[in-house]
Symmetry: C2
Subunit: 203 residues, 2 copies
């Protein structure tokens, strides 16, 4: 298995190749959202038996359904509900993975208001059970994506209630404590490379 551009560069600035790409394709990495890129990478991992990771469907409360003759049921009234977990989970090398993906247009820091408290609690609980929980954070203006383990997120989350505390995670902190993920060809976002580092540190 070979990931030509999928290598993980931790704590370094974007490579020349990356800078060039950022310049020519300025708006949102070849037109894909972070979520689409993760889905595509997950498909790649799945087809090659590397990992089984799926996005969970959006929870919807169905109120009214029509059952027309000779055709599929049509939902006529339904509402979006808030999920009690994160968006993605699955299994990789025997490890349970659980994560959320978020984008920001900020340049300096990642605002905590992008998260819900129950997501933080959920990730904490997954970690306690021996799972690997993290967030994939995209600074869309720079086209930079980081993996940050959930314990750091929890730390900032719990601190924000204290007087005078930050309501965001500085990019510099993420650069220092997270893993930067380079865009590649296949998969477009090889975040499991960063997970390999986490697994290595666990042993």
């Amino acid at each position: 298995m070979n990931y030509p551009n999928g290598k993980i560069y931790k704590k370094t600035a974007a490579s020349d190749h990356e800078k060039k790409k950022t310049k020519t394709v300025q708006y949102g990495k070849r037109g894909m959202t972070l979520e689409e890129e993760i889905n595509q990478s997950n498909q790649f991992y799945l087809e090659r038996d590397i990992a089984v990771i799926h996005k969970k469907p959006t929870p919807i409360q169905v109120v009214k359904v029509d059952y027309p003759k000779r055709s599929a049921a049509v939902i006529r009234e339904a509402y979006y509900r808030q999920s009690s977990t994160t968006d993605f989970n699955g299994v990789y090398k025997g490890f349970y993975l659980d994560f959320e993906a978020k984008e920001t247009k900020n340049k300096q820091s990642f605002p905590l208001k992008n998260f819900h408290e129950h997501q933080i609690f959920h990730m904490d609980k997954c970690q306690k059970q021996g799972g690997i929980a993290f967030v994939l954070i995209c600074f869309s203006i720079f086209n930079r994506v980081f993996l940050l383990e959930s314990e750091y997120l929890s730390m900032f989350w719990n601190n924000q209630k204290k007087a005078g505390s930050r309501k965001s995670i500085p990019l510099s902190f993420i650069e220092e404590n997270g893993y930067e993920i380079q865009y590649g060809f296949q998969p477009s976002l090889h975040y499991l490379g960063a997970v390999d580092q986490i697994i290595k540190n666990k042993k």
Copy 2:
């Protein structure tokens, strides 16, 4: 932690206590479906930090959404989609769990037509990644629930294409190779007891 009635009796008939309950509450285990019982047990596990296991939302394809002023978005046209995975997954003692829950009114065997091929493939893939994949099978007439590891299910699934092969899994096979789960009070269906057995056998 104490599970008064949550013990796992493998390869034994229902206990006297169980038989009595079956007699007095004949229709569907205190009126709950298998799925509701699993959800309730998962809630119990979650609150006590025993495991983090959730049912995935039903995937729905949204076609038309209204955005009324000053109130929540209303989905006006949507369709049920087929899930590409199983219904439940999560993490327990560091292990990734993945499973599907099914009920039958049959007395002798469990019909394979209750499963979709992609569910079998999905469970196989989870097993390959070191996860624990299984089905919870309820014979609703007898009020008996079994945990059967997905490798047995795959075996029957792959065999059924051969001429003259069974299209169902005999109850006797499930009794012999699965784990029977007794109904209890808290949680109502302590299926993690059977998972403990599987983990023990892995070591």
